[in-house]
């Protein structure tokens, strides 16, 4: 959970991802997992966020549009309800439980959750190459006090 005094963060929002960014950038374990060089799109219903990782940290978080997904190595797409379930599950289990890890969701949800917008398989594979870091990134949201819009 975040500081007791701070107000809850709304998911999805730039502030929520920004808080996640700050968490991992000060997390030695995230650094230890190795370099992660990726532009990741996150599509929550109709909203799009662009998260940039460079070397050993998360360097950028912003809200974008569908067009931004073209430049992303991969983007994660789920419905608002599915994202909400993931974030809640992560909070309840101090990290995703066995059926909510990113790879598992990608296999279990029809059509998968991760893709490259231009069909570039090499870039789509970045999702797998840095998967533990991504898992750690989203698992860290267990430490954020989150409310849903």
């Amino acid at each position: 959970m975040s500081d007791p005094g701070s107000s809850p963060l709304v998911f999805p929002s730039v502030e929520w991802f920004q808080a996640l960014r700050e968490l991992v950038n000060s997390d030695e374990e995230f650094r230890r997992l190795g370099n992660i060089d990726a532009v990741m799109g996150v599509k929550v219903g109709e909203r799009v966020f662009v998260i940039t990782f460079e070397a050993f940290e998360c360097t950028g978080v912003r809200e974008g549009t569908e067009y931004d997904l073209i430049d992303a190595d991969f983007f994660l797409e789920m419905t608002v309800e599915q994202w909400r379930e993931l974030v809640t599950n992560t909070q309840e289990n101090d990290g995703a439980d066995l059926s909510h890890t990113l790879n598992t969701l990608d296999l279990m949800i029809e059509g998968g959750i991760s893709d490259n917008a231009t069909g570039d398989q090499l870039r789509a594979d970045v999702f797998f190459r840095v998967n533990q870091s991504l898992q750690h990134f989203f698992d860290s949201s267990a430490r954020l006090e989150t409310v849903f819009e």
């Binding site: 997992l33 190795g34 370099n35 060089d37 460079e54 070397a55 050993f56 066995l98 890890t101 790879n103 598992t104 990608d106 296999l107 279990m108 029809e110 570039d120 398989q121 090499l122 594979d125 970045v126 797998f128 190459r129 840095v130 998967n131 533990q132 898992q135």
Partner: protein, 387 residues
């Protein structure tokens, strides 16, 4: 002549020596040695001090530290299209005449092994290295019903053998590659290091909970990879675009159907490694297709006709699939449901294979696919992976 204690050493050297040398310092003398002569290549003492092709290089560390890519500046970054150097001269080092050949590097053309991303993948492999024997929480892997245990042992035996075969296959080619392309060689060294890790961990996982190993792999495709001779590109296509997607999917399903976080971590880290290997392999095959004479890519596609028959033979073997079906469904009693997911797995596998071949510029489609493999794509009932 001098014993060590008789030499007047600068203070820092003395300290270093004292620290290192636990034994008492020598009082004896070294026997008369031949006088120090300059190297044979140049009669002038210290002539080597001027022997450089490019001086004044100052590669700077960036966010990733000082990477191998950072070194590719000036002549040091000029990657030759081919190299006739068989003397292991480091790329950019000052050549001297009359050096005998040390080895006959069969792969001395860039097109035969290169991929632009190898240099970054090498550093990525090192940064993302992991220690399964310490980082996997083995105590978390508690016994499951015996059928699941047996099936898991079978899956892990298969994965251990796949890893070991990969060691063999790369091992057959690595030492044949010219050091003009050290980026590729060092990346492949990291890959065989990964294969050693995978072998060790899956063997250990099979033996966990008082387990034992299962049946060896159906070996038709293994032999094809081991015995293919024309070039690394052909072998790479088999290893990274035919076998690779299968291994990757097995790891991914292993993660998805794991019954504890330790197994999930184990498989997930293997997913990372395998995807990295495939990133090099795909990039190399594409590079070869783009840069070899016209028709090369078509030749690779044609080569697959026979190879796919080998693959089909392996895929018809029930052992791996039945084990997977039991792991997925949790029992023999429910394995029919598990098998529906396995059929979905096979479909994904063939789709993935086609996608990757096409990415590399090889015309591999459902239309020219072996009918037996195409059948995986045309299942009447498709099961969701969730089964």
């Amino acid at each position: 002549m001098y014993g060590l204690s008789q030499i007047l050493l600068p203070l820092r050297l003395v300290m270093a020596l004292e620290e290192e040398q636990q034994q008492a310092e020598s009082e004896g003398n070294e026997p008369a040695a031949a006088p120090e002569a300059p190297p044979s290549a140049n009669a002038e003492p210290l002539a080597w001090m001027k022997d450089t092709v490019q001086w004044g290089v100052r590669a700077e560390p960036g966010k990733h530290g000082l990477t191998m890519r950072d070194l590719n500046v000036g002549i040091y970054g000029e990657i030759p299209e081919s190299s006739s150097d068989m003397s292991r001269r480091p790329r950019g080092a000052f050549p001297i005449p009359g050096v005998p050949r040390t080895d006959l590097y069969a792969l001395s053309a860039k097109v035969d092994l290169w991929a632009d991303n190898a240099v970054d993948l090498y550093e990525e492999a090192i940064q993302r290295r992991w220690m399964g024997h310490l980082e996997v929480d083995w105590d978390d892997i508690t016994p499951q019903p015996i059928e699941v245990e047996l099936a898991m042992r079978q899956l892990c035996t298969e994965l251990a053998q796949q890893a070991s075969m990969e060691t063999d296959i790369i091992g057959q080619w690595l030492h044949k590659m010219n050091y003009a392309y050290h980026e590729v060689k060092t990346f492949l060294a990291s890959e065989i290091f990964d294969t050693g890790r995978h072998y060790t961990l899956f063997r250990r996982r099979a033996l966990h909970n008082d387990g034992s190993l299962g049946l060896e792999s159906a070996g038709q495709f293994n032999r094809r990879m081991m015995e293919t001779r024309p070039g690394w590109t052909e072998v790479g296509m088999f290893l990274y675009m035919v076998r690779g997607p299968l291994t990757l999917l097995l790891y991914r399903y292993g993660e998805a159907y794991a019954r504890n976080r330790a197994d999930k971590f184990l498989f997930r880290k293997c997913v990372e490694d395998k995807a990295r290997h495939m990133a090099y392999g795909m990039a190399h095959v594409k590079y070869a297709v783009d840069n070899q004479p016209p028709g090369f890519g078509q030749g690779l596609g044609n080569l697959m006709r026979g190879v796919e028959r080998d693959l089909v033979r392996d895929l018809k073997d029930p052992v791996l699939w039945e084990a997977l079906a039991i792991i997925i469904s949790g029992s023999v009693a429910n394995m029919a449901q598990g098998m529906a997911v396995v059929e979905d797995f096979k479909q994904r596998y063939i789709e993935d294979y086609l996608k990757r071949m096409q990415w590399a510029g090889i015309n591999k489609t459902e239309a020219n696919l072996s009918p037996d493999l195409a059948a995986f794509l045309r299942r009447e009932e498709t099961a969701e992976a969730g089964g």
